[in-house]
Symmetry: C2
Subunit: 250 residues, 2 copies
DNA sequence: AGCGGGCGTTGCACTATCTGCAACACTCAT
DNA sequence: ATGAGTGTTGCAGATAGTGCAACGCCCGCT
């Protein structure tokens, strides 16, 4: 692995916490100021880092543009989008699409609820992996040893009293999800919000993405939400069919 | 500037165009395969690059997370958001917030129209700088020589017959915008879409961001849209006041 | 089966490239 | 004015990155 590049890239998460000046960057990297300066300059030339008026460094614009182009190149997303919009038009609630990548689950698309209540989630944001319905679906399909390895490594924050408390409970839940082919999150992340989700499968039958519908208690009860399950599953299957049949070489 | 880091970072835009394998990356960088491999590995370790099943490399997940955190650290955005939502509730059309950074204008927030017609724009996406109302507002406030320099460097794509055709026309338009304190884009980007925008100013009176309201012809005519101008300007001023008064050291 | 091309990977010797230092420039605050 | 704090530059030394060549592997071809 390349030391110089390694150091340079370590600057990015550091700046993600907030702006920092040259000295701070150098100290946190454990290198001399002049070294940090050169690295920052290089990052700057590539637009990944921006220097504000007070001379402090911040993450830069091209980072957005890159993340942007990256998300647009995901073909599942492209195929799924119209289906998600259609579903949203039918049921009105927030619809999410997520993928698994390197021990993280992240939203790659979202269609907002038509009800005034909005959820705090954003495309690109890592998902609450131990409780979200989409996370359960994606992890449930991993090969057993990998699933175990990931489950052991995770933290299990108690967002609410119904959050998944530990690895054992999580693995049990994943087994259920794997079995039944759908998943829920009933107030496990936010007390008053329930989700139901279904997997999207590629040609080989592997789960390549997952979608979910979320709604707050005040709009529909968990039971009412569950009645939408067949519709959600049908949508997921429609996306799966289109994705599997797609000509895109993979 | 650091050569190694420079090379590594050059890989990112390259991958933004689409997945590529080791050989392609090496060729386009003009380095030996083994060198490209090490760079890619380093990028991979930092999550900026992801290796898909077919071994090809793609932009990775952490890129989203970084862009995400970066955008959340922009305090204008945080302050503006509730105002934008309120405005959207009053008038229903799409509301955008944008900033200027290193010769680019980019959207940092967006509230979707309540009408079925959606616009193609995304947070993080660079704006059509020669025509967008927000771009005019942000550029109009640059010091004269910089404004000139930027205007000369730009391309002037003719999206429609009403697009800004060249630097001279653009500079003239900027002068008008600067004078009147608001801006429009009447079908300059997409034939059927009009926008009106207003500047958001910091404590020193400099324009730090710009907001706009966009609506398609089929919903409201340009004249009708212009009647909303006072409301938009009041919103921008409210944001400016809150931003200027904010305790955040800048 | 056997063969050959394509691609990713590894170890190594060489030196180009990065590093830390120390001195300098600049801006503020006292 | 003076000094502390911060960012910047040039340079000599040596670390760390480079290209090479050889290897292993997978696939398709005959």
């Amino acid at each position: 692995m390349s030391q110089t590049v390694d150091r340079a890239l370590s600057i990015l998460p550091l700046l993600a916490e907030g702006p920092a000046d040259l000295g701070q960057v150098a100290t946190r990297l454990g290198v001399h100021k002049s070294t940090a300066l050169r690295l920052l300059r290089t990052l700057h030339d590539h637009g990944l880092v921006y220097r504000q008026q007070d001379q402090r460094y911040r993450l830069g614009a091209r980072l957005f543009a890159l993340a942007q182009e990256a998300v647009e190149n995901l073909d599942v997303r492209e195929i799924a989008h119209t289906h998600l919009v259609t579903l949203n038009e039918q049921i009105g609630h927030t619809v999410h699409l997520a993928v698994y990548e390197e021990s993280e689950v992240l939203y790659i698309d979202k269609v907002e609820s038509r009800y005034p209540v909005r959820m705090y989630s954003r495309i690109g944001k890592p998902v609450a992996i131990t409780v979200a319905a989409v996370a359960k679906l994606l992890l449930a399909d991993l090969p057993e040893h990998e699933r175990r390895a990931v489950a052991e490594k995770l933290d299990y924050p108690l967002y609410t009293s119904r959050s998944t408390p530990n690895a054992a409970a999580f693995l049990k839940e994943l087994a259920t999800v794997r079995e039944q082919g759908w998943a829920t999150d009933l107030g496990g992340h936010e007390e008053s919000i329930n989700c139901i989700g279904a997997p999207i499968r590629g040609a080989a039958g592997r789960v390549v993405a997952a979608m979910s519908v979320s709604a707050p208690n005040v709009v529909v009860t968990a039971e009412e939400l569950l009645t939408l399950l067949p519709l959600v599953r049908r949508t997921a299957e429609a996306i799966s069919r289109e994705y599997s049949g797609s000509v895109t070489p993979h």
